[in-house]
Assembly symmetry: D3
Homo-oligomer: 233 residues x 6
């Protein structure tokens, strides 16, 4: 099968890193096509960026027509509902993929994300999905998205500090990394804290393969029925 992984921000280096992670978990026979809009926010940090990246994201989704599934590689799951209505193939965001995976292997997961301004949006998603019931906390590391790109010990230190507090104070037994740019840290944090650390990209790819194998796609019988296009011009 062919999975289109769209990074909704316009930072191409991030898209390349995302594609690499996606390919690392994809099964043989799965092709990963990764892309990002040429224009739009360089990173998605808060509600304005979530909305501002939509036109580019939807245009990217429309560009690739022979795909079997679309993954939105932004932890805010921006545009997922609109894309489910727009496309006939299944659509998953990496945020929801990570939360569902965490629910299958832990009793209480915590999310460690970038800036405080993103926390309410993630919490709103968790409530809508119902999975706030499984979430111990959503914590901000104060590391901006694009600083993750450069990596370095300071970003990792700040993120590890929040993982530690999630374990100690919130009794989390599993950590969800709340940004597509944190994948690099996954294995190391998991080893340091001796608990599962989840990155949503690989989970989203695997869930798509599962839906594909099970013959399942987005329901067109309700909220996601195809839009009657009524665009004036």
């Amino acid at each position: 099968m062919k999975i289109h992984v769209v990074n909704p921000n316009s930072t191409a280096s991030m898209t390349r890193a995302i594609a690499e992670v996606a390919r690392a978990t994809a099964r043989k026979g799965t092709t990963i096509v990764a892309s990002n809009p040429a224009q739009g926010p360089a990173s998605i940090q808060g509600y304005y960026d979530i909305a501002a990246c939509l036109p580019g994201l939807m245009a990217e989704a429309a560009r690739y027509r022979d795909i079997d599934a679309l993954v939105v590689a932004c932890f805010d799951d921006t545009g997922v509902d609109a894309l489910r209505a727009m496309l006939d193939v299944p659509v998953i965001g990496i945020g929801e993929a990570a939360y569902h995976a965490a629910s299958l292997i832990s009793a209480r997961f915590s999310v460690v994300t970038t800036l405080p301004r993103s926390v309410p949006g993630l919490e709103a998603n968790l409530r809508r999905y119902g999975l706030m019931a499984r979430c111990a906390s959503v914590r901000a590391s104060n590391v901006p998205v694009l600083d993750l790109e450069q990596g370095g010990p300071e970003a990792e230190r700040l993120i590890a500090a929040q993982v530690e507090r999630a374990v100690e104070e919130d009794m989390a037994d599993c950590i969800v990394l709340g940004c597509a740019g944190m994948s690099d840290l996954r294995a190391r944090l998991s080893k340091t804290f001796d608990l599962p650390v989840i990155d949503g990209i690989g989970c989203a790819v695997g869930f798509m393969e599962t839906l594909h194998a099970a013959g399942l796609s987005t329901s067109k019988a309700g909220a996601y029925s195809s839009p009657v296009l009524s665009v004036s011009a």
Copy 2:
């Protein structure tokens, strides 16, 4: 004060009707400026339209700079979070305005909206706002938005039928009209069923006047802090 009322769809006749309702409840001294994007969906029916109207909506919001408040005149409250981050003035959607008003005058309100595909999005909003606790049901009348424009007895009959079921089956004691295009029916339905029927437009205008008089505006200390613009091109 000056309130910008944006209809996020591109149907100018609907904007005119909205402006009229807004002006009817505005206090003396309040100026209503109403506009709509020239392009984009002709009506907002479901998740695709909600996303597709955003660029036009945000451009309209950016066009008027000397305003004191912005009302999103779409019952889905599309774009409200992004606009709160983008603007320094308060932003209210007519959906949330109607729900808050209903909470102040009734014990259990029901929403009667247009197509079934819009119901899950409205329910998701109500859950986020917390006000699902006050909502008896969200019912679809199967009347498309643009059919409301033409009015006629059939649309009214279908809507009244759902109001009746909300009262009889769901024990609603108040009805919220779930589309900016239903304002015309408000007074008549209220009289027929002898209970309050709420249209969000006037409520949103009044709430803005209240916030203005109380010296309150959107918090810039958290989720709605001004975006660091990072648009690549």
Copy 3:
């Protein structure tokens, strides 16, 4: 329009202060009539006072017959349900008014109130209204209601300390002042912490004006239907 603002405690100096705040936000053409019971608790601190002030509150509400709306100027919203059933005009408590206003301008508000014993009652209200979903915390300052009357730096210091903890520990981006006697501090706290601080009195007045302009009043079709008086004697 004419709004009756009832302070349910018997402290007349507090009623005068409340009336002043109400008049400051009322639009031209709105008359504020403020009163309090001659007898009953001098302040409302906990469940006993909430019940003990009811006879006086209801008698005050019955005394003024030519009013268009009634505001209960006690942050516990005591008696609001009974008054909605008893009167034909809309009734709002300043607690609910403040919570609804906070929901329109922030993502997560915290309440800072007087004594710890009042916290569970406020939380119970927030749950009933559904707005606990928007509330980060309800914090007690340990300042008794009547100490607020005298003001002074110590009361303000204790309240500011809880505002600070709400912002730091609970990630609140908006503060609701949890007592009618705290109005004085509003502007200063808002400036100090650079976020919206809400006092319910002005909000309740503005919401009443909004309902009035929109032709809305308490539903008499359900929980608030007029009582069949069956008082024995």
Copy 4:
């Protein structure tokens, strides 16, 4: 031990019936003292009556000083919070007693009460107690409280009709009778529908005996701490 059972309405015949039911389940050694206010609503039907009966209820509670526990024999649990703060002995309402008992013997209970106007108040109680999670429905029989006094086949028929719908439509496996005046019907309805039917009076008495035997009483460490009396006159 000595349990004071207060009927908060002023209908003495109802008080006698309540006392009889209370004595039927009380253990040997438990004395039941039943009383009602001489004045106030003849029945409690909706929010107005709930508030209007409070002065009489609190005066009755203050009249008997050598008691070990107080039961509020009104299904709305009116005044329970205030009485917990006012008294040093435990206080239970028959509504909460019935809900807790139902939670111990069934998976999904339904409540069948008197008038529709009482339903929202009962639902609000169930939400506060948390036990809405166990409740399949709250149904109104349209039988006014005082009609229950006279009994007769019509009242029973209307109540049985709602029991039947609760079982068939709401999948209830247990029925809670939502009025102190329905106790007579308990045994017969239980036999007809072959499932437990609960009347709160006996449950409240037994729970008081349990608390007494376990050495437990209302916590005075938080919401129910004794009021600092500050009544002006």
Copy 5:
């Protein structure tokens, strides 16, 4: 009446202590029969033990046929649902008994239990019962169940430390002891912290006496209908 109190673990000394507590609150005329499985986990600490003790627990329940009620004397309420389906007499777990009792005498209770691994199971129970709405926190003392048997100042110190934090940090006004082995500490902790401290054993016994006096038993009309035995061999 005759109440069978089953300790689902295989530690006979613990069963003896439980029986003593049960008898201390039972009314005259109530016989307590206490037993435990000869085999199975020596203590119930986490999900594995909860499942592993079931065969022994169910066998014990089947051994005593002339009883009127069965109490599961394990704070996890293990097996309660299965036993309700299996037996015709009422079944209560000491966990749920304690939570219901706490709900009747306090506004916010906290649970102090043994190991952290038990916390998620207790929280899941509280959510199912609905009573998480009344629970301020579930705290682990890090004292293993069998260490409680030996008692000693260290176990008590660790438990008291969590009680203190529940009061200070979580605003609890009532403490529920989260293990059948903590009964000894009840009176002393209650005196030290001047608030009610609840042990579920006595509450469960009293609730059984209440159900018995009220003629109530487990509903056989739904989830707890008697199993159609279909055991192959």
Copy 6:
């Protein structure tokens, strides 16, 4: 990888059917080992069977030591928590697998299961998982598990009738088949009603492959930490 699929009931023909469905969605390279206890309930219908099958289920899980994952092929997800603590490999129930899959492709799913007595247990699971937020209804078809084995038009007719009601009355846009024995009907029902119909077996297998590819397994840092075996004998 090697996945052990355990049918917790003792009906070997059902195990064979389950294995077939599991193999149909498994990727090349995945080995499915299916087994069932020789003894225990022939089908799992309600809380008694859920508990009664546990010893056999746990013994089966202990028999196969070289596996990479364990799937509990019973829609009640019986024993999943205990097995997560007991084993070092990930454990998923087919109920939770189906709910998570439904959450990824629909807005509101309904469950159609066998007997009414199973409904409260499934609803309790959905609440614990948080996914009740996504569930429109859990409906019983009144078809016993073992009747599904024989199939025939009557069982299918009864199940289809509930699917129809879920779509019409509950606005479901996706159906989850609530029993491992219903897999046969999946494709036909999906075609008839033109919406996704989900069987949990294939989803559980695919999710296991995903976790395996992503290097994730059950957290041993909290609720699922390995038991300290303390079995007396």
